[in-house]
């Protein structure tokens, strides 16, 4: 009698104890290079799931690179920003800005681009193609 009561209360205590919840998604860390002008709340952008092992789609990569450029204050004419934009000719970025953009892309996709390849990226399309060719990019 006493034992069952003790067990019951113990079980209740266990149930009441806060369980540690395994995080299934973590919020996207905003790029540290470019501060977002405004953060658009969107259910799909607010979380990033790591469960899927499938590679990135072209649209996803392009979207993330364009978002990044949208938040880069040196891009003067956002209307010229599209999947084909050239960093210098269309967006008016100089070579130092381009280095910063490529570094922000590295940070966004958690990869490191070697100098030689980084120097060859001059447009949104080239960046997208490079990321798509990287199995480690996510």
């Amino acid at each position: 009698m006493f034992r069952t009561a003790l067990l019951r209360s113990a079980r209740q205590a266990v149930r009441a104890a806060p369980r540690w919840q395994a995080p299934i998604a973590r919020p996207v860390a905003r790029s540290s290079l470019f501060q977002a002008k405004q953060i658009t709340p969107s259910a799909f952008q607010a979380v990033r799931c790591y469960s899927a092992s499938a590679g990135l789609s072209k649209e996803q990569v392009e979207g993330r690179i364009m978002d990044l450029l949208k938040n880069f204050d040196k891009v003067t004419d956002v209307s010229k920003l599209n999947g084909e934009s050239h960093f210098h000719n269309d967006l008016g970025l100089d070579s130092l800005d381009t280095v910063e953009v490529v570094m922000a892309i590295e940070e966004e996709f958690s990869i490191e681009i070697p100098d030689k390849e980084a120097d060859a990226i001059h447009s949104v399309k080239q960046a997208v193609d490079y990321i798509l060719a990287q199995p480690d990019a996510h």
Binding site: L33, S95, L96, M103
Partner: protein
Amino acid sequence: MSHEMALAAYRNLLRSASIAFRGDMRMLSAARLEARKNFENNRGLASGSEEYTKQITHAQEVAKFLRENVVQGQAIDAEGRYRLNIHEHTERGDNEDIKKGKGNTLAGTKCCSS
């Protein structure tokens, strides 16, 4: 010495800054602004000139120093204890290194000349 070398130096400097000041947005953005400012100041230098070479070497040295010899600490309690952000690139020597004072590291360098 070409245009690419300046860009490589700039990239290296930015990378070093993000290693040295990881997690410290204020220092990180200040370091990036400072790097940018110095590169902008030297924008007019003729590619290949002596001053150009000197400035690039300087940038690479700053990058190396930031990466290997700057360690940030964060106070973790009121007793003045700090947690140091020692990372894989931090230069760590042992006592022998200090005696030898190898040329390419800061080990064995005296902090003041007097």
